[in-house]
Symmetry: C2
Subunit: 188 residues, 2 copies
Amino acid sequence: MDTDAPTGARARTRRAILDAAVEVLAKNPAASLADIAAAAGVGRTTIHRYFPERSDLMTGISAYFLERIETATMRARLDEGTADAALERLCQEYFELGGVLTFAFENPQMQDWTDWETETESDKALERLIERGHAEGSIDASLPAGWVADVLWSLLYSAWQYSRLREQPKHTSLSLCLRTLRKTIGTE
Amino acid sequence: MDTDAPTGARARTRRAILDAAVEVLAKNPAASLADIAAAAGVGRTTIHRYFPERSDLMTGISAYFLERIETATMRARLDEGTADAALERLCQEYFELGGVLTFAFENPQMQDWTDWETETESDKALERLIERGHAEGSIDASLPAGWVADVLWSLLYSAWQYSRLREQPKHTSLSLCLRTLRKTIGTE
DNA sequence: CCTGAGTGGAACATTCATGTTCCGAAAAAG
DNA sequence: CTTTTTCGGAACATGAATGTTCCACTCAGG
């Protein structure tokens, strides 16, 4: 009853723990399991029921994180339309990830928790998309694909911080992010 | 003999501890003092001699960090030449900060350790510079100064990561960073 | 009304980072 | 060379986080 199809209740609890963990750890990377339990509205022992050790929780977060990235990538339908338009769709989808994004950025050690071959499916899809943009001329070909990908991520992080620290509405920072991305990849 | 002019040896040791702390904490924000001591080639007790408590070390890092930012800002001579050129000089100076940059970026909570009124001298100077660029038309006036500043920082972070993770020479990522910055602030 | 899965909480053992003290060795200062 | 400063390490105390066990409570489904 651990690897079986979750019985609704189990899935809900597990999800609540992961969401709370991401949220709390994003604010304080050194948060204790008790903090996370409190944020999840769950007993500390319940966390150990789902994730025996702290490292198991971290691994769980990585998997959860990758899963959400993957689905966001799918939703962006990267192979439809021009590459620059697809990249903007992707940017919007990733922006929605919010706290997950902040967390991933501030915990580079997350790579130690999982089996990242430093190349996920989404990474590769993004790389392909940018190269398509290079070919069709909608993305500045003098900027390496890896660089464009890195800039995309850090712009997203900036946008999130911009709305969080400077108390700007999310749509404002998202539109700044998109405009900046457009200028960055633009060929002239 | 604590606040007096450092006797050479003390200054050197203190510096070594701070450098090691920045380096180690950049990789793992939850590193222990023993880890830091090892990285600094110093006894753990020596760290306590300079920074009685962990929080004192964090405060020390903040101060060290601010100090380096300030001198880098000075060197960029922000009031000479056009605003966009000055911004590029600043970008180059900040790039040299390296690990300090990564650390600061990944630890926004650093504000808790110091008396930052969320506005340092450098922040204000940068803000003024961008506004000067808005006025003289060398920086896209439709991008708020705060946003441009945030983007500058995240581009620097990207550049550093780009050379670290993808094993690119530093001058390559710096020039990508500068080119991207130019496109971002450019008015057309 | 049972039953069992899912849960919360108390109690406990253990590990680990932290902070302190003390002393002898090494290095710098004079 | 002598004195003072600085350092490293052992030893210890403490507190927080972690991990484990056990029991009672709740609640949905039969």
